[in-house]
Symmetry: C2
Subunit: 397 residues, 2 copies
């Protein structure tokens, strides 16, 4: 057993808000403010360029990779940090296709996050040579793994429905077919237990601004299986992945570690915020977190279904097949979500008709769920969402 959950005191949670969107942008860790002020004033301001050494900036990405590793079942030294998730998808995909030069299929599924598919499309356009992307329905992905497939790229937890792939079974199937396995853990890291070592996948990528609370635009992570670390092609071969970045050699020579998957200068302020956010994970047992997550999401489903018959559960009913979110389909999901947000229950909407609610056991408890259910029931039964002000679309929905 780890430390008891939730740990609400570590987060800033505005009055009058029940935040069920930590699966999109995690809440502000209270420690971030002081840490950021320190980075700006004491480090950048006073040390200036010397801060790269004297304040530990150069070592920060590696330190943070080693803090994230245990949250995804990976050993120290196997996780590199930086860039965005889309960039890390490209890098892992490019490395993976080079490991299977005779194969031309990138297999994903139609439920994958669009940016993963877009990055694959861009890579294929650049490669030419007959590469293709296949996107069967999520439930058909495993069957679609054939010996034509160079790499299987799946997001473990579906961003729209919360449906969860079986990482171990699909990775085994990929390997049996001779394919490389790449997992996107965007909705997994900090949400569900992940055991990369046990599943044996070659690559994993993820972001840190959702359940890990690293803040808007926090750096992404990339995992490479330790036996590949000295052979994987970085594809995006930037100077901070070089064996000796400051030797300024004319030729690229990759670091003999996962650090070869770094590219350019790290976003130090965002890294420092993420570092302070990870303090909230010290001592958390992922099995406890999963149990708390399921308690919250089961209660939420039971409450909403009992009181809002117009909402149709769009997530798997079986909790073993679900991540840490629950989605309901509703024809008027967009204005309905806006009305909920107006009443302080913050979830989000994903086209075409999904109302998404995320459960973050670090800062949510059962009282929050019951209070949210009351408001949802009221908004739905009174059709408060029909007010004209909720019908107008905004840039981010």
């Amino acid at each position: 057993m780890g430390i008891p959950l939730p740990r609400k005191d570590l987060f800033h949670l505005p009055d009058g808000v029940i935040y069920l969107d930590g699966n999109s942008l995690g809440a502000l860790p209270r420690a971030a403010q002081a840490r950021t002020a320190q980075v700006l004033q004491d480090e950048w301001g006073d040390l200036l360029i010397k801060a790269w050494n004297d304040a530990g900036w150069m070592a920060l990405p590696q330190k943070i990779g080693d803090r994230i590793a245990p949250l995804i079942g990976a050993p120290a030294g196997s996780v590199a940090m930086g860039d965005t998730l889309s960039i890390k998808v490209y890098q892992a995909l490019g490395a993976a296709v080079k490991m299977r030069p005779g194969r031309r299929v990138i297999l994903s599924d139609s439920g994958n996050f669009p940016s993963d598919l877009y990055m694959a499309q861009g890579l294929i356009d650049l490669l030419g040579q007959g590469y293709e992307l296949r996107t069967p329905a999520p439930e058909d992905a495993a069957q679609a793994i054939t010996d034509e497939v160079a790499v299987v790229m799946l997001t473990q937890v579906d961003y729209r429905t919360g449906r969860m792939h079986d990482m171990a079974a699909i990775t085994k199937r990929a390997h049996d077919a001779g394919a490389v396995m790449l997992w996107d853990l965007a909705h997994s890291a900090g949400a569900v237990p992940v055991d990369l070592t046990a599943c044996g996948a070659e690559f994993a990528v993820g972001c840190t601004y959702k359940y890990l609370n690293g803040g808007p635009g926090a750096p992404a992570f990339i995992y490479a299986r330790p036996d590949l670390i000295e052979s994987v092609d970085p594809v995006l071969s930037g100077w901070l992945g070089h064996a000796a970045p400051f030797a300024m050699e004319p030729g690229y020579r990759p670091a003999m570690s996962t650090e070869r998957l770094r590219v350019g200068t790290p976003s130090i302020v965002q890294f420092a915020i993420l570092d302070s956010a990870l303090d909230a994970w010290d001592g958390v047992d992922m099995a406890d977190l999963r149990a708390a997550s399921l308690t919250l999401s089961e209660l939420f489903i039971q409450q909403v279904e009992a009181r809002c018959p117009m909402l149709r559960l769009a997530s798997p009913r079986d909790p073993d097949l679900r991540g840490s979110q629950v989605s309901f389909a509703f024809e008027h999901g967009y204005p309905a979500m806006r009305a909920l947000i107006d009443r302080g229950v913050i979830g989000d909407f994903r086209a075409p008709d999904i109302m998404r609610f995320g459960f973050t056991p670090l800062y949510l408890d059962e009282a929050d769920i019951l209070a949210a259910a009351d408001i949802i029931a009221d908004v739905m039964t009174t059709q408060a969402w029909r007010a004209p002000k909720y019908q107008v679309r905004s840039a981010v929905t």
Copy 2:
């Protein structure tokens, strides 16, 4: 005439320090601290996910691109922001080679920043098909532009020597040979007047943590010539370059603007810091800035050469051929720079023997240069750098 320089009051400059390394990491703008606190507490903390709309986060990269554009002679709407300079080099190079499908040569020079060369090497490895990178000496680059060349990629101001390429002449030569022109403005933006519109180059990239003072890991920029905006291939085709990111379409469909060169979720905290840093440029006339830069660097050369005969000028003597830095070669440059830093004169060292000093007219004046010259003369004539503590190498030099 713009506003008078310097504007020291806008920056935090530590007591006892003369900072001649703004060409590596610009000084902290005083406004950044309050702006960062606001982004964390009022925006992320209180608005949570709503901040993407309500605090203008979604629009921030475009707004900042439009603030940088006039500093590099580019029109509004032609500069996209995000990622790191290395990533933007890759994106521009990839786009450029696709514009010249019959050609196989990427031409750069041996003085280019290594990461630019490394990214080109990674791209070439992925492309195969006989692509090659050529790196003649900087002074031979123009002559090396032949009709085999798909893209000419040069950094305007050499990071080591400060030697400056003639953008207009080389771009014309590239175009005469049918090649695409890509300029890296890392040591140009905010340092020397740049007129992208006049020179007609297809692409430019740069970073914002040097002369633009955006802070460690601040986002990079990429310019595409306006007539290309609707046809350029983004290569790294992430969701925020999509015409409708939140429509969650399965296929990539690029935005009909420079925004197609965006990739993933922007690092909002770093963007906000950069936004506050750009306030220091309001009303600055780049011709005034250049005049101030040359006054400072000419004075520096005159002072150092008169008093330190052991230092050999490694930058062009003709100010018209020099950016906003001055480099001296010295066999013991590494310990000598460490000794200078210990005495409060902060420059930096670049292998194998370059002592580099940058001139940032926003926060330096002639009194700073004279004071720095006194310390440099003392350290060099007393050989203070021979102390054992200065001989040990650190990670970043």
